[in-house]
Symmetry: D2
Subunit: 342 residues, 4 copies
């Protein structure tokens, strides 16, 4: 059975990544692509790497006939999503890649995102889209909120450890490094090649990054108490890839065993042998997440490292994985491509 899907916001990087993945998916067909400012253009004009594909032209959202559509991927900016998703017909399932439906408490959303939430009713039915931990709810959901790419990476390390109670909840540090595609395709001086290449720096230091809202919500829920982590993102001079270096306190054996058990049945989350650690280049373009556990020379201190591709497992691959569940496809369908190296 072929499912008809629509990608809203196809002129951004996560939109293009969805196209890349879906055109190889055996059971999905792209019914329409939207890009308001580029309506009327071929996708191959906006993204020449997709020029070999026969796809519908980019159009405005309002011109899309949704009557036969099964699922919409919404890759629009924060806050635009709320308005657009509200207008979609009831029969259409939605995977939203923005931050709009990640935060259950709309006041917390308003605080981090600087504006009121306009779709509190939809928020109530939204399921948080970290597939491996919300699989059942996602399969039944109408609306799934894709996670932040940094938020996903940190959670793959920490969720099992917090749930199992094997780490000190008051001493968690996530030192994270992410490639530039996570910042999107907008023309900003600080994202220019000449500004970014051959250099490295942190950003949103000291607890300012919005993905902390997701960490706070999820970790506190799991722990049954408030959990606050330290989180410092850095900008890598690479296009893709996130590496999180997570500092925790606890028994290295318990930590390793907990992670290994948590992911032993997972297709995409690979826990490396004790002492090994991952590299972003070994997951590029794939839906895999590699996790490594290393004991520190100081007793009871452990470093856990996780790598994934921000555009694939961190956003568009995750979105497709969720869509598979929502449409009754096999979860890994269309997502088993090997990473591209070198």
């Amino acid at each position: 059975m072929i499912h008809k899907v629509v990608i809203l916001g196809a002129s951004g990087y996560t939109g293009a990544e969805l196209v890349r993945l879906i055109v190889s998916h055996p059971n999905m067909k792209i019914h329409a692509l939207s890009a308001n400012r580029k309506a009327g253009l071929e996708i191959g004009f906006v993204f020449p790497h997709l020029r070999h594909l026969s796809l519908p032209k980019l159009e405005k959202i309002e011109t899309i006939d949704m009557s036969s559509v099964d699922l919409v991927f919404c890759a629009l900016p924060h806050s635009t999503s709320q308005a657009v998703i509200r207008m979609l017909p009831e029969h259409v399932k939605v995977v939203d890649l923005s931050a709009d439906f990640r935060i259950k408490n709309t006041e917390v959303y308003a605080k981090w995102y600087g504006k009121d939430h306009d779709a509190a009713d939809l928020q109530k039915i939204a399921v948080y889209g970290l597939t491996e931990f919300y699989r059942d709810e996602i399969a039944k959901a109408r609306l799934v909120a894709g996670t932040g790419c940094n938020a996903a990476t940190g959670q793959y390390v920490l969720r099992p450890l917090i749930s199992a109670g094997v780490i000190d909840l008051d001493h968690i540090i996530i030192d994270l490094k992410t490639g530039v595609s996570g910042a999107g395709r907008s023309a900003k001086e600080n994202l220019l090649h000449a500004e970014l290449s051959e250099g490295f720096q942190a950003y949103a230091v000291g607890g300012q990054h919005r993905h902390l809202a997701e960490f706070d919500q999820e970790f506190s829920f799991l722990a049954g108490r408030e959990v606050k982590v330290q989180f410092t993102p850095h900008l890598l001079p690479t296009n893709r890839g996130i590496l999180a270096t997570v500092y925790v306190q606890g028994s290295v054996e318990k930590i390793f065993n907990t992670l290994q058990e948590a992911y032993s049945e997972e297709t995409f989350i690979k826990v490396l042998p004790m002492g090994e650690h991952p590299s972003t280049r070994h997951v590029r373009g794939s839906n895999f997440c590699h996790i490594g556990v290393v004991a520190d020379r100081i007793s009871n201190r452990v470093t856990v490292l996780a790598a994934l591709d921000n555009l694939t497992k961190g956003s568009s691959g995750q979105a497709l994985q969720n869509a598979n569940l929502m449409l009754g496809c096999e979860e890994a369908m269309g997502l088993m491509m090997a990473p591209l190296f070198p």
Copy 2:
């Protein structure tokens, strides 16, 4: 029907690229992987990006049971290939990725490669593996010689033009730029990151590059007279990608029309609209080749540009395309993945 294939030399970049492609191929199964110095290791140890795969361990060539094998991809160094392929049982078809069987005249081979050819008998049955131009012979061949990656790029531009007689044969310049993966995985000072990144230079300037042997052979054959081109390769600080900027003399309309007609039915060769030109980033990780034709302000001068991924369309993708023909699979099977961008 599932065809059993073997990859010899699986610890190099073209070997790893073959693995990446073949594990997504519906009708092929990897029966064995060889890497003499790394025999006994898992492929995921040598190439961690492949660690999610369940594949046979690397082994020595001589321990591989070839009895049920349909086809061998030989990704060994030049001159090693000759000896190894000679030992393979008759029922095994072979796609060789080395230079060993590209040059029909073994004396010419000896001149360019600095040693005598040791398998002149095999050379006689070898078919030159530029799929789009030797399709029928390849389908019937036992031994196909993969082309040089630079040689492929230049030929996609020039073969139709020479065959059609629409360019001046005495004024052809190929100014080519290639990513570093083309130089292989050997530990050499000049291939270090600190030596290569943030810089650019030519190499083998003035007609010293071995791929000229292929240009000479093929172009002279097509023209029915000796054709010598000027060819300057340069090393790009990127991992993948070749861009050839080819300077020719002739009518831009005839040149454009000739190319467009030559490739109108081809799946992987895309001639862009007149005046547009390609980028290596838009074919990365794919089997596509993009070709652009631009008239110069000087009358009768034309610039033709071609881009492909040296590891995919330039070697391992081409090899798989040829293997498909040899095994009776659809030519594009397993090769339709979209490029990875950004």
Copy 3:
């Protein structure tokens, strides 16, 4: 004696490069820095790599007291320069880094730059700033027009050869590759890191690049007849550096000897031994230009390659070299720093 200088347009890359060079210059002092949209800010805010310096704040051009100023570097955009330089007091010497005064014939300027020239009177007194060839005129000039960075690179190769009559004037091809800083600091989608890194492409193919106006003017003047070259620039995924691969026809000995003699007394132009060729990484951040001559296997065909840093020798270093002459300083003063490698 300390000369007071002003940099107009200090918030762009050529402006910052001028600051970097001049703060190490023994006989110059920065009197004022302008940046209209960033007036009031410290240069260290706009360019944090300059934060250790004690310099005047950025201000608007009109607030600068020019009464004691000896020389102004004008690093403003094309066409803005004309208006600004017209307003400067007569006693101030000017080195302009824009294209505004490079083209002697204002109708030709209008054709290439798409607008009329507004300072034809100043154009008459402007000297073309390719130091090694206009040294005497520059020393006496009030207004020097810095060359295009690509135009400089091509001319270092071709001027001596055209003057000496040792190459065929109808078969000159300049295949040039330039780093991204040449495109300036403006926030454009096509200059984003994610768009530019790990890829390569041509631009302005077929004779559309404005620096052709300089080639046409200078080469035709030298030859005493119209000379038109083919010129294809490409964008390198590096921050700095230009490599020009120039294809000419003539005797390699004559070509090599002509270049060697032309530059034997030059401080910054280094002709490499016959057969060697340059790399952009070996001139980075310096005022040197390396030139290599290689014979092709085809008789009478020669490849000449030149490398320089587009921001230093290609623009701001050249500007300082010219300013030295105009102010009576030693020509190489403040410009002898070694390249930064790796």
Copy 4:
């Protein structure tokens, strides 16, 4: 007065960086350059970016006439240094860039470096070369041991804080990211461009990096008790630059004030305004170190970030700064060049 200096090990990156710096130093002259395996070659052959310089040819150490030499920079590998420095005549001052004389306790040295120390007598007179903290001893020393580049970066953040007693000594984490030139110029597979670019990973995770010996020694000495830090280095796909993200616990005001006071008189260490943080690209090629202090949203948690160029302030620039003191030159002489950006 001109001091004659010698560089031993001039064919490595720190050797080349010393040459780059010293040729602009007004009071030093390079008397000889050694490189045992490349003896007889010009430095411009080994490092083409230095080809414009008139310098002595590379030679073997034993052929250098040391009689008139004032100071030797020893940029040889670990353990080679011990043997070589032992042979130098008494009148020659020595700045060693290897690890051989950094560790006061030779048993600790043996443990971290895997071999016995062969020059325990010289170790006794060696002064640890972190200029800002050992200035007086360095000025009087015969032998100064340059610090590890990572060790320097971490100490610039932590020494003042430990001395002032404003941070918790049991909760210090240094998450450090370094460019590839720190790994030297040896041809290793894992340092190839194709292996390193477009990716990111940690190394020596869990307390295995040798620079911990320096942290342990210096921090325990300052604190008057054993201090052990957690230290995770990562390899950046850039040529130069170290960024250390240091997590400490204490009052952000006290931490900021302590650092600001500690470095208020220092030429090269710049403490940024509270809340700002540094980038490696803004110190590239310079001797500056930028330090930023940011409060975390969690009370009493502070993130301090430091950036420097590993080849300059981290090794060769530091070495020259020390040599200036040892020879009675002004400390900053030859080191005030602005960073190269972009």
